[in-house]
């Protein structure tokens, strides 16, 4: 029994380490009715204008068309947001282009994506180390 617990703890630890080591500059917190994934058009995040491609799926994995997305970049540890407003346009079913995602200074930025369609809402927060 205790062996199984140690094995689970070890696997959890490996999974946690693997996730930190995978080199992504994103850390994600997901909540709500949608599965929100996002990737920068060119990675890693750089100071200046970036473009974020967001994919929205429902709980069954089907693309969500015609949703309203609000994208809010914040440099929380400095107490300010971005100098430019992110404009969202749907490129294909469930695929949204968010630009300009402007990081006007280097450092840690949090990008909150709020998605809404009808009564359904979802939120996901991505973190980017901007260099």
């Amino acid at each position: 029994m205790s062996n199984r617990i140690s094995m689970i703890a070890l696997l959890t630890l490996i999974a946690a380490l693997a996730c930190t080591a995978c080199g992504s500059d994103e850390s994600e917190i997901n909540s709500g009715a949608f599965e929100i994934t996002a990737a920068l058009e060119s990675s890693p995040a750089a100071v200046g204008r970036n473009t974020l491609m967001v994919t929205l799926k429902d709980s069954a994995g089907a693309p969500v068309e015609g949703a309203t997305l609000v994208v809010d970049p914040q440099m929380l540890m400095h107490g300010h947001g971005s100098t430019e407003q992110v404009v969202v346009s749907e490129m294909s079913a469930g695929v949204y282009k968010c630009t300009p995602l402007t990081f006007q200074m280097p450092g840690m930025w949090q990008v909150t994506i709020d998605a809404k369609k009808g009564e359904l809402t979802g939120r996901k927060v991505f973190s980017f180390e901007v260099k």
Binding site: V47, H78, G79, H80, T83, G107
Partner: protein, 281 residues
């Protein structure tokens, strides 16, 4: 003796008022991240500021004086694919009172003690207001958008031709609403500086100082933001030359101690200042 090249300083005992102009070039050299690791800016980023200030100080009693500082900044930034540009405007205006609780030489063994109480007005433009002005680089940002109350105590011991001064200050920013409607409160600040100076020639005073500053975490809707506390340290030197009984020229240089662990979540700068002061009596 120690008419300061940093801050407004004080009136000489025979002066009724003083006015001054100061202009400084602050070259951004890099930044400390929230783990206190220092990194120089890369080729894709630069920020420099040309900051100027008109100030005045007027005696309101034998021991008390009032001051006003009108800062102005011109910022230059280069931000990756946004290119570069300059902009600026009025900064956060400050006004306050200074009280000489113990004047220099009043007691032989006791240091002079001055107390200050001031307020900083959010007259500068905060970052979240830059968006409405189509300022993607953020060069028009000249303030933090919050009122702040500042209090300080300055202890100075003189033994001609030397002086030593310890300055301690606290700043308490008041809560403000962001453009997105949340209540944001910058953390209280604690500043301290130790200055040692000497009159090296008649009417020429040279001083060196070290300074430290801490700022506690930002609160958004009452919740502290992780890693948002700040720290900063620097050293500087100043020289003032009273070349006329009314006029003093001031020169100062200040550098952040741009090394790992000596700052936190803060930009580092190298600042050169020149100033001119007129005292009326």
């Amino acid at each position: 003796m120690s008419a300061s090249a940093v801050g407004v300083g004080r009136l000489l005992s025979w002066e009724r008022f003083a006015v001054g102009f100061r202009t400084a070039f602050a070259a951004g050299i890099g930044r400390w991240d929230s783990s206190a690791h220092f990194a120089r800016y890369g080729d894709n980023y630069a920020e420099h500021a040309w900051r100027s200030e008109f100030w005045s100080m007027v005696a309101i009693s034998e021991r008390a004086s009032a001051y006003l500082r009108l800062p102005w900044a011109l910022n230059y930034k280069q931000v990756g694919n946004l290119g570069d540009g300059a902009g600026g405007g009025l900064g956060d205006i400050q006004a306050g009172l200074r009280y000489e609780a113990v004047e220099i030489g009043e007691f032989q063994w006791f240091p002079a003690i001055a107390l200050t109480l001031g307020v900083s007005f959010p007259s500068g433009r905060a970052t979240d207001q830059a968006q409405a002005h189509a300022d993607a680089l953020g060069t028009s940002v000249t303030g933090r958008g919050a009122w702040a109350i500042n209090a300080g105590v300055s202890l100075e011991k003189t033994k001609i031709p030397w002086f030593v001064r310890v300055d301690l200050g606290i700043g308490v920013p008041l809560p403000r609403d962001t453009v997105s409607g949340q209540t944001l409160r910058f953390g209280p600040q604690l500043q301290t500086a130790l200055t040692v100076g000497r009159e090296v020639l008649p009417r020429v005073v040279v001083s060196v100082y070290g300074r430290l500053q801490w700022e506690s975490a930002i609160l958004v809707a009452g919740v502290a933001i992780d890693n948002s506390s700040r720290a900063d340290s620097g050293v500087g030197a100043a020289c003032s030359w009273r070349f006329d009984s009314h006029w003093t020229a001031q020169l100062a240089i200040d550098s952040s101690l741009a090394f790992d662990g000596l700052g936190d979540n803060q930009p580092a700068q190298l600042t050169s200042t020149i100033g001119l002061r007129y005292g009326y009596f």
